[in-house]
Amino acid sequence: MEGLTQLWQSTGLSNFEPGQAVMMAVGFLLLYLAIRKEFEPLLLLPIGFGAVLSNIPVAGIADEGGILSYLYLGIKSGVFPLLIFMGVGAMTDFGPMLANPKTLLLGAAAQFGIFGTLLGALALNLVPGLNFSFKDAAAIAIIGGADGPTSIYVASKLAPDLLGAIAVAAYSYMALVPLIQPPIMRALTTEQERLIEMAQLRYVGRIEKIIFPGVLLILSAMLLPSAAPLIGMFCLGNLIRESGVVERLSKTSQNELINIVTIFLGLSVGSKLSAHQFLRPETLGILALGALAFSFGTASGVLMAKLMNIVSPTHKVNPLIGAAGVSAVPMSARVANKVGQESNPHNFLLMHAMGPNVAGVIGSAVAAGVLLALVQ
């Protein structure tokens, strides 16, 4: 019966560590949120499943030689988040932003969420038991960018230990955008402001759309090369889309390639959800900061819009679309539209909110570049 003993010793039950059980529960919680609550299921489903898989005792699925350890190389090298960013670029229509470029400033303002979170993370060192280095704080701050691949990319460079917690916080709060944003938006605007109807967007031609990714890339190369990998891959995807001459590459970037990488990326992120990396007071701090980051970014965007209306009162901007500057495409643009329609059901803000929405993606990539350049 030596075989049976050997078998019992090889079971999960006899080897379970409490932390692993808790982390498997966390994984199932993420699966529940993804499936039942439809919290960003494209990412949270693979992340949750990866968390379950990697915490199975003995199996070592995330240990060296396990499948998740191989998939994780795609994050470590930066390849997966950058390919996702390329695919997102291929799905992005810059038209609404090009039609009304001043909405870019809303996308800029919302990045206050990032730097506010940075300060918050540094301040949390006051709390006994929490200990965030400057790099940690910078990686956490990017959650405020409301941009999954950017968060993962920055975290993998600055604080790989926190990668799991940061990605979970980033995607969870993105899913919570419809809950977090509206109260802040209502609190900071008057009924009159929420009723502002915006001028219809002008027509944006094909050449403008083709030129834009090139211009954006040059600007980033000149001023902020540390943001060039992110912005470059994003621009590549967008150029593939807008050029009109490589339709098959565009279709593949937006579908099969991004889908395959999403599965692998999600599983790999999940593989970083181990007990000793996640079950720490720091994780609670990260989750608290994430809520702060989104709220702060939302408020900054709305207030910026109000400021713009004071500075140039001719073409008024509905301040609700400022909230879309956090990016979280297209959820926050939908939220802006919905809150606007509460006041006037015939006021369609969705298209107008897409401008700050995609500007927010650029804004957070720029902020990521600053952090990558200055925090070492």
Partner: protein, 82 residues
Amino acid sequence: MESSLSEFLLSGFKLSLIGMGIVFMFLSLLVWIINITSKILQKYSLEPQELPGYRGLGATAESEDAEIVAAISAAIQWYRYR
């Protein structure tokens, strides 16, 4: 890394200032370039602009509908990716 927390926070504050400065500078520059580009393209009539500049508030309900359809399809395109 700084030893005392206040120095630590000060560094963070400086970084935030520089960071937001860069973000605004970068995106403002982009606004300026987009406007310039658009003007140049219009000047040389490089592409037929359906109606240059804003069309005003008098847009019909029909075009609103078309707009909302376009917006939704653009949004759906994103498929909740970010």
